[in-house]
């Protein structure tokens, strides 16, 4: 362990050089850690906000529903599913929905609409439904006879709050479903196309209208952390275990969005490679220089009998010890930085509009990636770069080394 002691002391002997070398390793580490935490955070922010807006992170459907939707492809045992969801701790909230098409008319005007039966309470909890109501109000406690329509629907029908809307549709038993409702709220979800056909009824009312008692078409749920999605999805698939149903994550039911995000993230990966490269080179630069500058010193050591292999070991050890110190320090600072930004977030100079929602405040993320990638980078680049000059130094004739400079 003499080697270790010497290595240590060497490090602290030449303070300035050590500090400079350490600075680049430390600085590079922190930068990389911060970048990863920030970009992962930003992406997850966007994905989260987009999915939470209406679709949720995971959806449960009849297994063929997504491919070819039909009124008859329902999720039948809602209570059982809700029980499972309640038990699963990582599930944050869920909302059951029923979908059908119908013809709505106000006065002389009519329009094709999408009837959406929602559980008001759950919908508020899961997708913050009532925030989207720009005129009027949410369903009351006894919501029979109430309807909330999308902005576009109101426009096409020339309808206002308190107007009466007649809806005609076909019920699940083939009979003609029709009823009359009062508009209590007009909604703007940010999804303009959706708002052109949105016709929200309380779930029980919709079920009665369409003779779909106890049945729904979709259960959308949110999880606490976006990263848990795949895991929770698998978990739920096992627990629900019904061959007629399928549990799918947003990557499947929001496929086009997923592809767009993925493409972007792939691009981000390139960025990461570049950053890592730049950090590596920074480390390379400093470590290389410091090792090369000490050739004379190595010459002396050899002259007094140090074996070449020992010199190599010593150099590597120095670099690695320094590296470890920097990594530890870098982790601490990086963690702190990412933590601050993940808790307090940062404000964007210009708000990001997405899905009709304006985001000004974004958050970084603390994750493993933001630490193990920089760590590997720093250690590998430092070790690699000190290896060859160390060997070279160890091999040079002592007399020549000492004469250098």
């Amino acid at each position: 362990m003499l080697m270790l002691k010497i290595a240590f002391r060497n490090i602290f002997r030449q303070k300035r050089r050590t500090i400079l070398t350490a600075l680049s390793m430390f600085g590079g580490f922190v930068m990389a850690a911060f970048f990863i935490g920030w970009s992962d955070g930003a992406y997850n922010n966007i994905i989260d906000m987009f999915t939470r807006n209406q679709m949720g992170h995971i959806q449960v459907h009849h297994k063929d529903y997504l491919d070819r939707p039909s009124m008859y492809k329902t999720v039948d045992n809602l209570p059982a599913i809700e029980r499972i969801l309640k038990e699963t701790k990582t599930v944050e909230s869920w909302a059951p929905r029923l979908y059908s098409a119908g013809l709505a008319s106000v006065g002389e005007k009519c329009a094709g609409v999408r009837i959406i039966g929602i559980d008001p309470h759950q919908e508020n909890r899961t997708t913050d439904f009532q925030q989207k109501i720009t005129q009027g109000r949410m369903f009351s406690e006894s919501p029979a006879g109430e309807v909330i329509i999308g902005k576009g629907v109101a426009k096409v029908l020339n309808a206002r709050l308190e107007d009466e809307v007649v809806i005609v549709s076909q019920a699940a038993d083939g009979s003609i479903a029709n009823d009359i409702y009062r508009i209590v709220g007009i909604l703007e979800s940010g999804d303009e196309i959706g708002d052109r056909t949105a016709f929200y009824l309380p779930l029980s009312v919709a079920q009665e209208l369409l003779v779909l008692g106890g049945r729904v078409h979709e259960v959308a749920l949110t999880v606490q952390h976006l990263d848990d999605v795949r895991g929770v999805n698998r978990q739920l698939q096992q627990k629900i275990d019904d061959p007629k149903l399928s549990v799918e994550p947003w990557q499947v039911f929001a496929r086009s969005f997923y592809i767009a995000m993925k493409a972007d993230k792939e691009g981000m990966w390139i960025m990461l490679v570049i950053i890592v490269l730049v950090v590596a080179i920074g480390v390379l630069n400093t470590v290389l220089m410091s090792v090369l500058e000490r050739r004379r010193e190595y010459g002396v050591l050899k002259a007094v009998g140090t074996k070449p292999s020992q010199i190599v070991k010593m150099v590597l050890m120095e670099v690695n010890i320094l590296g470890i110190i920097c990594i530890v320090a870098g982790t601490a600072v990086g963690l702190l930085l990412n933590y601050i930004f993940s808790v307090h977030g940062y404000s964007l100079p210009e708000p990001l509009t997405y899905g009709g929602m304006k985001f000004q405040h974004m958050f970084s993320e603390i994750n493993a990636r933001s630490f193990y990638i920089p760590t590997i980078t720093v250690i590998i680049s430092a070790t690699l770069v000190s290896f060859f000059p160390a060997i070279k130094a160890a091999r040079t004739d002592p007399a020549r080394s000492m004469r250098m400079h």
Binding site: S24, F50, D264, V278, I281, G282, N285, L292, E293
Partner: protein, 410 residues
């Protein structure tokens, strides 16, 4: 001054190894910046293209209110004037006219609601990728001259259980009267984007046919526009939007049509900012490192200089100029490296199509786009940085006490 410059320059080359290593490091930093900027631009371009090139277009002109109601009577006003103007418009690369209406498409097996798009094949192919999305075995995009040709998506063909050459009936409601208009068509092309909405919801016919069926004479609902420069559409201040939003029309860019895309783009913009900061920081570290190392090593030399009468200001000048020299060398290296690498990628593209699902038919390679401004801006930035960073070591050099320095050794 000139003397110091010469001295600084020669000093740089005295310790070749260090200079080379440092300048390579900084040069790589610069090259990375150049590459990153180009890659980012390519990415943004790709994203915009993905969103707009398949069908939407970079900008659209409609009759006011059409976007919200979709009513067939809401056609573009003053069409002849608008098209005249568009033809003369410098920034416009191509544009095409379309009618858009809802309809029902029936086959012997089934019937489905579709968005009927009446198009002009000659101009449409420049704007949308429908023609590209038609496989070799799946027909073509109105290459023939049969007015009863119809092109639909693969999913729709599946639902209707039809294939090339089959007979279908299209029903639309006429403008004003609402009377139904029905015509027979034959499937002449089946496209596939692998995106459910696009493959199910649309049916394309010749514009003359749709205008006749809808009873709108030679009016149209939509003009899709493509600009020469893909970034034009994101500029809010250009006169284009106002110019075409008169007479009861409105011109909007894809940003309005696809607000989600904008969010992703803004994100990208911020990311570039971050990257520049981070790389700048790394470059700074590299420079400081090098300068300080050289300073401390040559302490003796500097002390001697002071001893023979060089004033502190001279010392400072020297150090800063050395920093500058380092900067210049680095810039040259960085530029060469950056340009070469980026150019290579510009030609070969970056292939990151290894996505889990089967690749979609429009999934493109990323082609970085290098702008001359990058090649001027970034190097100057690095040089300035270098000089600025050199101030601290220069100051230290100036403050050095001769006797202490002479005694110091590595």
């Amino acid at each position: 001054m000139w003397f110091y410059m010469k001295l600084a320059w020669r000093n740089m080359f005295r310790n070749k190894r260090r200079t080379i290593i440092a300048s390579i490091a900084i040069g790589i930093g610069l090259a990375s910046l150049i590459l990153t900027a180009a890659v980012m631009r390519g990415m943004v371009s790709n994203m915009i293209k993905a969103a707009t090139a398949s069908f939407l277009g970079e900008a659209q002109i409609h009759g006011k209110g059409f976007r919200e109601t979709g009513e067939v009577e809401q056609t573009i006003n003053n069409l002849a004037q608008v098209t005249e103007n568009l033809k003369k418009e410098d920034i416009v690369d191509a544009f095409t006219l379309r009618t858009i209406s809802m309809g029902m498409l029936s086959s012997p097996a089934n019937v489905n609601a579709v968005m009927v798009v009446g198009i002009k094949p000659e101009t449409e192919t420049f704007l949308s990728k429908i023609d590209d999305a038609i496989g070799k075995e799946s027909g073509d995009f109105f290459k023939g001259d049969n007015p009863r040709e119809i092109v639909i998506g693969s999913k729709l063909a599946e639902v209707l259980e039809v294939s090339l050459g089959d007979r279908v009936v299209l029903t639309v409601a006429q403008a004003k009267t609402g009377d139904l208009s029905q015509e027979m068509f034959r499937i002449s092309g089946i496209y596939s984007f692998d995106i459910k909405e696009m493959d199910t919801g649309m049916a394309f016919i010749r514009i003359e046919k749709s205008q006749a069926m809808l009873g709108i004479g030679d009016r149209v609902h939509q003009i899709a526009v493509k600009f020469k420069n893909i970034e034009t559409a994101s500029l809010k201040e250009i006169p284009f939007w106002e110019k075409y939003s008169i007479d009861g029309n409105e011109a909007v860019s894809w940003i309005t049509l696809l607000p989600q895309m904008k969010a992703v783009l803004d994100m990208t913009g911020i990311t570039i900012g971050m990257m520049v900061i981070i790389m700048g920081a790394v470059v700074v570290f590299g420079i400081i490192n090098t300068l300080f190392m050289s300073l401390y090593e040559r302490m003796f030399e500097f002390a001697v200089m002071r001893a023979v009468g060089t004033r502190p200001s001279g010392m400072r000048k020297l150090v800063i100029l050395e920093a500058g020299a380092l900067g210049v060398i680095s810039i040259i290296l960085g530029l060469i490296l950056g340009v070469i690498v980026t150019l290579i990628f510009t030609k070969t593209g970056i292939d990151y199509r290894g996505i889990e699902f089967a690749g979609t038919t429009i999934h493109e390679m990323l082609y970085p786009e290098m702008h001359i401004t990058d090649l001027i801006f970034f190097p100057i930035g690095v040089l300035v940085f270098t000089l600025v960073v050199g101030i601290y070591p220069a100051w230290v050099a100036g403050r050095m006490k001769i006797a202490d320095a002479l005694r110091k050794s590595l």
